[in-house]
């Protein structure tokens, strides 16, 4: 964020800070959340690149449309386990996963 935006916000009385601060997450919790979001995004991008609907994807994953939607939304009821298996099932390479992880840093 350029300082201008932050200071403008301050002038208007907005409190600024990270989501992590706001929720009081530890570093590892924040990293975990971030990781989930990066993988969820990677999954959606991969599905779209393959020109699949969520229903198509669900078939390949032997799951349901609703669960695919939740995966892509990084819903709390979706485990990293499921996210990673979904990515692999759609043909994501370990290289691709590594890149998604890197994005968390």
């Amino acid at each position: 964020m350029r300082t201008t935006k932050k200071s403008r916000a301050a002038k208007k009385g907005w409190r600024t800070g990270t989501v992590q601060e706001f929720l009081g997450l530890t570093d590892e919790e924040a990293a975990y959340v971030e990781l989930r979001h990066q993988l969820a995004k990677a999954l959606q991008e991969l599905r779209i690149r393959l020109k699949l609907t969520q229903i198509d994807a669900a078939k390949r994953l032997k799951s349901s449309q609703s669960r695919v939607a939740k995966m892509e939304a990084a819903d709390a009821t979706v485990s990293l386990d499921l996210l990673l298996r979904a990515l692999l099932a759609l043909g994501a390479s370990p290289e691709m996963l590594a890149r998604a992880m890197r994005r968390c840093a």
Copy 2:
């Protein structure tokens, strides 16, 4: 594997092939298993680098010694989720995780 070893094995009547072939795993199943093993190994290496016993590690992870042992053994009852959270809890960087992923390729 250098060819010499494989051909020597053949001479002795050993059948050679990958574990994947033997178990009849699909590519994605094999990748999933490999991923688990790489992360399990990374966890053990990290714990040892920190000079922690499994009991010490269990305390930091708010878990038990037996579960830590199973994590490091990539036991079937341990999810990728738990493995990744354990790694993060011991301070593994996304960079480190990315490196472990890449080792699967």
